[in-house]
């Protein structure tokens, strides 16, 4: 720990302000094509951060986070198309609906642990995907277009979309930092590290997990809605694609699970790799998988873990120094 608490908080606050301003002015200087790429980068980062929050902060590993990406997108498309509402105003509703969905399945999936929990969410994602694929009113396999934004000014849509995506990425960094340092963040860490001890100090383990699961679901849902809003079309095979899981895992594992910074590095590496290896198809996916295997074998804390270990540099340290053990 090289900086004391209050001054670190101030540094983070300054960083947040700088990022906020930088993001706010970006659309003035960036072409629409690059704006679209940035929307994708920010939303994919938000996906990864929702999984990182779940696995690294709540201690729940899921293989079905694509469930919420797809659900968020479909909730948004269906309500916007049905009532002709500007989709941007629907994002809070998407958060609530995805959170409610998570809350509804949590009591059942929480009965399973570890990998069985992880796969049970994947099963739910498959149920929803197969259901939508058969339902003609939901566009079946060919999916749904987003009608309302068609008649709107393209630049306005792109810029609004950018601001939403940037806001999600901002929350993914500074919101997570803020949350992890609140009381609930400490409760989450306690539950993640040792259920028994957490229960012994009076933390309600079940409700703490429940909160984390619902929050991660809602956040991923909004990110999913934002992503598909920017491409104006959603179909079940893409929205509920388990490959979303591959991308999230890669970003978080390579970067470092349970850290705020790790997934930033992970996202950068992911998009660089994708740019270099575009056109190689499966080779590129194989590489993502192999990278995850190697990381688990040699540095299970990811690249960011190596950085903090070597340089003791942890600007967003969310872990408080632990009191000396007896």
């Amino acid at each position: 720990m090289n900086t004391s608490g209050p001054s670190r908080t101030r540094h983070v606050a300054i960083a947040a302000a700088v990022c906020f301003v930088a993001l706010a002015v970006t659309p003035m200087f960036v072409s629409q094509g690059n704006l679209r790429l940035m929307i994708e980068i920010f939303t994919v980062f938000a996906f990864a951060q929702s999984w990182n929050f779940l696995a690294g902060y709540v201690g729940l590993m899921s293989f079905g986070q694509q469930l919420f990406i797809g659900l968020g997108a479909y909730f948004l498309f269906v309500t916007s198309n049905a009532y002709g509402i500007n989709p941007f105003w629907l994002l809070p509703l998407v958060f609530v609906l995805c959170g409610l969905f998570a809350a509804a399945v949590a009591p059942f999936v929480f009965r399973l642990r570890d990998a069985y929990f992880a796969i049970s969410i994947w099963v739910i994602a498959e149920i929803v995907r197969l259901y939508i694929s058969q339902k003609d009113s939901l566009g079946s396999v060919s999916g749904l277009p987003l009608m309302v934004t068609r008649d709107m000014d393209r630049t306005v849509v792109a810029v609004s979309n950018f601001y939403v995506a940037a806001g999600l990425a901002f929350l993914g960094v500074f919101g997570l930092y803020w949350l992890a340092r609140r009381r609930i963040g400490l409760a989450l860490a306690a539950v993640r590290d040792n259920e028994g001890t957490a229960a012994a100090v009076g933390i309600n383990v079940w409700w703490t997990r429940f909160f984390g699961f619902v929050l991660a679901g809602g956040f991923a849902g909004v990110a999913g809605a934002t992503y598909y809003m920017s491409v104006f079309h959603v179909e079940p095979g893409g929205a509920f694609d388990p490959n979303w899981m591959v991308v999230m895992l890669f970003i978080v594992i390579i970067g470092g699970v349970g850290t705020v910074e790790g997934p930033i590095i992970g996202t950068a590496i992911y998009f660089l790799l994708r740019a270099w290896l575009s056109g190689t198809g499966n080779l590129y996916l194989m590489l993502l998988g192999a990278a995850a295997v190697v990381t688990m074998l040699v540095a299970s804390k990811g690249l960011w873990g190596i950085v903090t270990k070597r340089y003791g540099f942890e600007p967003f340290a969310t872990r408080r120094p632990s009191p000396n053990k007896p």
Partner: protein, 292 residues
């Protein structure tokens, strides 16, 4: 009558599903390891079977023997080279490691073999059938069920009576104490993973004979295996068999009612069972007084 035949066929398919789950459940029971790559190993075994069966003497169905042996060796290597290195109290590293492995395997198979649908040809046997209680049943599905039951029984018998089986059961109970008795639990784990993959490989080849597969089938296979194990009550031996049959019957009945449903109804039945009982079907079937 047509429904009775559907249910009978569901039971035949369910036996095979149970066998898919057996490998996963056995590995979990012994090591508390969940091999997320199991589904893709099942598909890989089917590809090995596809390339070996033309050279198999006597009958193509016997290709399960060399494939099982190869899978056994791969399982030992997998455990020794990779999984044993990340064992520990924390399950996340091994789960993520096998997930990464699954991605590598799946996409490796796509680039090697292409994404086309394949099937292992067992010749005329595919069309043989016989009448039983007024139902028309296929010879191959019945044979597959018999193989599945035999493997379940053989594994149970071997675990109960052999020296290695005893050591495996002891290691499953307490992998630390066996070390005090001179047993290297990592070797035991390697053998257990070999057995788990060999069982899964047999299931994969038999599935490829009954139907078709693509390099992407691994995800569905894993989900089936996982559902079989959870319905069966996490590691309960014959519970898994019941779990497989529940899924098999559900799938074929649903296919009759809604041909486009695919695996959806199987997933839904699994979820309903999860809602009704946290410990799976075996705890619904067990009378409370008999439980400890």
């Amino acid at each position: 009558m047509i429904w009775l035949e559907t249910i009978a066929n569901g039971i035949l398919l369910g036996g095979l599903y149970a066998l898919i789950g057996l490998g996963l459940g056995f590995a979990f029971g012994v090591m508390r390891v969940v091999n997320v790559a199991q589904g893709d190993f099942i598909v890989a075994a089917a590809f090995i079977g596809l390339y070996l069966y033309p050279w198999t003497p006597l009958h193509p169905i016997l290709v399960i023997v060399p494939v099982a042996l190869i899978a056994f060796g791969i399982g030992i290597l997998l455990q020794r080279v990779l999984i044993n290195r990340v064992l520990g109290h924390d399950q996340i590293p091994q789960i993520l490691l096998t997930f990464g492995l699954a991605i590598v395997l799946r996409n490796g198979m796509v680039s090697w073999f292409g994404a086309n649908s394949q099937s292992i040809n067992v010749g005329n046997m595919r069309f043989w059938g016989f009448d039983f209680l007024g139902m028309r049943l296929g010879v191959l599905p019945v044979l597959v069920l018999v193989i599945a039951i035999m493997l379940f029984a053989a594994l149970r018998f071997w675990l109960n009576t052999s020296r290695m089986g005893r050591i495996i059961r002891a290691t499953a109970d307490d992998h630390q104490v066996v070390q005090l008795l001179g047993v290297n639990y990592r070797n035991v784990y390697a053998i257990a993973m070999g057995i788990a993959l060999a069982l899964s490989a047999v299931a994969g080849v038999l599935l490829a004979m009954r139907g078709s597969f693509t390099p992407y089938s691994g995800a569905d296979r894993l989900l089936i295996a996982f559902e079989v194990v959870v319905i069966g009550g996490l590691g309960s031996f014959w519970g898994m068999f019941i779990g497989g049959i529940v899924l098999g019957v559900t799938q074929l009945v649903a296919l009759k009612l809604d041909p486009a449903g695919g695996l959806m109804y199987g997933h839904i039945v699994f979820f309903i069972i999860l809602i009704l009982s946290p410990k799976g079907l075996s705890s619904i079937l067990t009378i409370k007084a008999f439980r400890k």
